[in-house]
């Protein structure tokens, strides 16, 4: 019985064992394996693959919008098509790219990092994946199946936050809105299931010695994220049930013509919507917490503060929702409160940023593709946070709210912070997941091309907002002075598309031709690097016992183990 952490090389290759090469399996067998799997690693990969497909689709939707907006009074797409495009782009990116890809990484990494063999409820895990996947397919079926008022192309067109009473039957006849509602309801059930799994796994299945204070920060952040899911996704589920009742059972929750309140939908939606964006960013923080230390060759600075800040962000994020409603007429009292709450959240967020800076400080920084994306994340998250502070100032939001300034801000977070950190995570963990290294050369090309495109688009996108351009408009007047900015913004989209395609190519090519990774290509310190790449189905031949936050550091540095400092 193991009472200490075995050396990495010993774990899965006990001396003297003979291994056999497995015979090639039929394609049908392989498919059956994947469809019926309950293995957290396979489910994680399916979540990620699913999300990448939708990333490309939603990215294409963005390209179409950018073509339409490049010139004033353009007729590249009809108003109805454009309105569906921004609705589908937003809905897809949040629910069928962001959530699945982040839960996919969580699914894959959390059990490995805590020394467990699988999630707490493997069958629930599979169920959650398939119901979310079905939700996405249902949403896209609306392109064929919905019968909107204005003819073909009847995907939902109510915006990703579907304000009432635009979503009432009288203003959105046909079924396009219902596809939106049902698709997200299903995906919400999947999200709650996965979050439940993560919490139960984290609390109940850590390997011996791994007290909560020794968990990798990634696991902490997924714990906070999952807790947020319970209290954030559920309000949306409730609101959508109410919307369905309004549309089909004649109820009056948001039926303004019968005394219902449009603002109530906004409250319910944003009670979901704001924590949702924290649900999206916290995993990006999780990746940063693992990747930045390894490529700086230093432990994360301020682990306890990082935990406290993450938990604090989780709690405070539940109290800021009405900063999306500063222009709705809540009154000066509410506007003042939500300004304060939103500003307060910048304190723990800043603490995290400073801790990353302090981790870099005095380190030996290796500029791998993964680290380059992480550094991009640091700068861009700083800027995104500062533009968020501007918007938290309610009077500034009275001008800039619902304008392209807001669109620029949240894309700065979603693309500049989250997507960059996701790319970083891909370059970092792809070797573990596939057994091969991604091409560093292609990775650096990917980084620079994407970086140029990102800044062309989203730096300059702040300007039309400052010049009065509202969001969600399919075209604009020529006399507003917005055209030049829109052209620049659209040009950046091309670079981002090119960078993304390069990335996809890298992943496919490297799977077959990339150099073999081995168990620990980055000389890292957490438990997932002690397994072969890819890990076997059972993860660990022997469940490890840990004595510090960086068990592999202790093994590699027996003269100076972390356990001495805890």
């Amino acid at each position: 019985m193991a009472t200490h952490t075995p050396a990495p090389a010993d774990i899965n290759q006990p001396a003297g064992l003979v291994t056999y090469a497995a015979p090639r399996r039929l394609l049908l067998d392989v498919l059956h394996d994947w469809v019926t799997t309950v293995d957290h690693k396979k489910l994680g990969l399916m979540y990620i693959g699913y999300a990448l497909i939708f990333l490309v689709i939603a990215g294409f939707q963005a390209l179409l919008m950018r073509v339409q907006l490049s010139l004033p009074n353009n007729t590249f797409v009809s108003p109805q098509t454009f309105n569906s495009l921004f609705t589908m782009h937003g809905t897809t990116m949040v629910f069928f790219v962001g959530m699945p890809i982040l839960f996919g990484f969580g699914n894959y990494l959390v059990p490995l990092m805590i020394g467990a063999r699988d999630m707490a409820f493997p069958r629930l895990n599979a169920f959650s994946f398939w119901i979310s996947a079905f939700g996405g397919l249902l949403l896209y079926f609306s392109y064929f199946g919905a019968s909107g008022l204005y003819g073909a192309g009847s995907a939902p067109d109510v915006g990703w936050f579907a304000y009432a009473p635009l979503t009432a039957r009288v203003f959105s006849p046909g079924h396009s809105t219902d596809y939106w509602t049902l698709a997200i309801l299903l995906s919400g059930i999947g999200s709650i299931g996965t979050a439940l799994n993560i919490v139960a796994t984290t609390l109940c299945m850590r390997c011996p010695g791994m007290k909560l204070s020794r968990m990798p920060l990634l696991v902490w952040l997924y714990l906070v994220t999952s807790s947020l899911v319970f209290v954030a996704v559920s309000p949306l589920t409730a609101a959508q049930i109410m919307l369905l009742l309004d549309r089909y059972a004649g109820s009056h929750f948001f039926d303004t013509q019968a005394g219902g309140s449009a603002v109530l939908w906004m409250h319910f939606f944003w009670i979901f919507g704001h924590p949702e964006v924290y649900i999206l960013i916290l995993p990006a923080f999780a990746f940063a917490n693992e990747i930045i230390p390894v490529f700086s060759r230093k432990a994360i600075f301020g682990y306890p503060a990082m935990v406290a800040a993450s938990v604090g962000i989780g709690f405070i994020s539940l109290s800021v929702w009405a900063h999306h409603m500063f222009t709705v007429g809540l009154g000066p009292g509410a506007n003042t409160f939500f300004t304060l709450a939103t500003m307060v959240i910048s304190v723990p967020t800043g603490i995290k940023l400073f801790n990353w800076l302090a981790t870099l400080w005095g380190g030996k920084i290796h500029f791998t593709a993964s680290m380059m994306f992480a550094i991009g994340f640091l700068f861009q998250f700083l800027i995104a946070g500062l533009s968020g502070i501007m918007l938290s100032v309610a009077p500034m939001d009275w001008q800039l709210g619902n304008s392209y300034f807001v669109v620029a801000h949240f894309h700065y977070v979603l693309v500049g912070a989250i997507l960059f950190m996701l790319f970083s995570a891909f370059y970092y963990w792809y070797p573990k997941m596939s057994g091969r290294m991604l091409s560093e050369r292609l990775g650096k090309w990917h980084f620079w091309i994407f970086l140029i495109g990102f800044h062309l688009t989203f730096d300059f996108m702040h300007v039309p907002g400052l010049l009065g351009m509202p969001r969600r408009i399919y075209t604009y007047e020529a006399d507003r002075g917005w055209m030049i900015w829109n052209l620049i913004i659209s040009s950046g989209a091309v670079f981002q598309a090119a960078g993304t395609l390069l990335f996809v190519y890298n992943m496919v090519w490297s799977y077959f031709k990339g150099p073999i990774a081995g168990p620990d290509p980055w000389d890292a310190w957490t438990l997932e690097w002690s397994t072969p790449s890819p890990p076997p189905a059972y993860n660990f031949a022997v469940i490890p016992t840990v004595e510090s936050r960086r068990p592999l550091w202790d093994l590699k540095h027996p003269d100076d183990p972390d356990s001495r400092y805890e």
Partner: protein, 196 residues
């Protein structure tokens, strides 16, 4: 290989039970859903300009409430009985729980029948109708699901499939049932006491 800190065998590595943690998470999520429906109910109190009001048509459902709350006790007794491997009493207390829950649902059905037929209150009538039926109905749905699960447990207890080693699972189910009862306490207070 590090010879540092071998975990002494005397300190056991004990972690919470997965079932309990999982059910706690589900309860938190469901509480959030109920909270939204309760907020909607409170928000729209007094905002109706027509149709029946709570004061006019709602009677305190004391009997059915007592039944439901007692069923929490009976399910607890069922878990204790199973823990002591007393199959007979476990089945007995489970049956009592199902019966009491069934009485509650029947009472709700009768109340709704009266409201619809005699008072003309439906989901569509006014804001009170909308929020009342959706909130009470959401709760009743949860009661129904709970009764189905409890009936399954009863069957497994009667045919001998459920034994003392399944006590943890029955306890997880009982947590759900306690949650359903706790929600009713809140709904009862908001709808029938404060709201009238």
């Amino acid at each position: 290989m590090s010879q540092a800190a071998v975990i002494p065998q005397t300190i056991p590595w004990v972690l919470p039970s997965r079932g309990v943690v999982g059910m706690a998470c589900l309860i938190i999520a469901e509480s959030a859903i109920f909270t939204i429906f309760i907020v909607a109910y409170i928000y729209y109190l007094g905002k109706d300009t027509s149709g029946p009001t709570p004061r006019q048509v709602l009677d305190l459902p004391i009997f059915t409430t007592l039944c439901l709350l007692s069923s929490s006790l009976t399910v607890h007794l069922a878990v204790s009985a199973l823990h002591r491997a007393n199959r007979t009493f476990c089945s007995l207390w489970l049956a009592a729980t199902v019966l009491l829950g069934g009485i509650f649902l029947t009472g709700t059905a009768r109340e709704w029948h009266k409201l619809i037929v005699r008072d003309g209150l439906t989901l569509q009538t006014n804001l009170f109708g909308t929020t009342f039926y959706s909130l009470v109905g959401l709760h009743a749905t949860h009661v129904l699901v709970g009764l189905v699960m409890l009936s399954l447990a009863l069957i497994f207890s009667l045919n001998g499939s459920m034994t003392a080693k399944h006590t943890g699972r029955l306890e997880v189910l009982s947590l759900y049932w306690h949650f359903v009862d706790a929600v009713w306490v809140v709904v009862f207070t908001v709808v029938y006491v404060l709201g009238r």
